[in-house]
Symmetry: C2
Subunit: 105 residues, 2 copies
């Protein structure tokens, strides 16, 4: 993963509201959750919510599937996993020891 992609994903998650959205979707699992339900759950205006969801979709952390008039949102696990891998990779690349952190990755 390129550093700009990683930064974009981290930035997307680095906002309380968007992180709440993302967590709700992670909790919802494979079945996902419609935009409307997110709105009920998080109590934020539709337009605000829509903007935040758009950010998450733009960086690939969230996918959407239309089902009639409702849009179902899904957390994209692969995208998150790629980000996590990026974060823990190259640990101590410029150093010798450091076994702990390597196993943590």
């Amino acid at each position: 993963m390129k550093i700009d992609d990683a930064a974009a994903r981290l930035e997307a998650l680095g906002n309380r509201t968007r992180l709440q959205i993302y967590r709700a979707l992670v909790r919802a699992g494979r079945s996902g959750m419609p935009v409307g339900r997110l709105q009920d759950k998080l109590k934020i205006p539709a337009s605000t919510l829509s903007h935040h969801i758009k950010s998450l979709v733009a960086v690939g952390l969230v996918n959407q599937v239309r089902e009639a008039t409702t849009l179902i949102c899904h957390a994209n696990y692969d995208s998150m996993q790629g980000l996590v891998d990026f974060l823990v990779s190259e640990c101590c690349a410029d150093e010798a020891e450091c076994k702990n952190a390597k196993t943590a990755a």
Copy 2:
């Protein structure tokens, strides 16, 4: 971890420059890296660099130890691990199946 702490850490990493700083420190491993060397490496003005480092320290992702006139910066692995754990935790909490993502955590 509280969601606000997680969001703060993600926001700190969600900026190209700060992510570059953090990665350089991760690569440097236990020995860390002085602020001045980061400046040489990343070619950014001292004040800008200092601001960014301060953000990373504020959220606990980076620690600093003074050694004479130079300040050595270290990536805090525990802090990062806590963040990663937070991100992959509670996957599918509201659903039944979903084994893949669980094992990924």
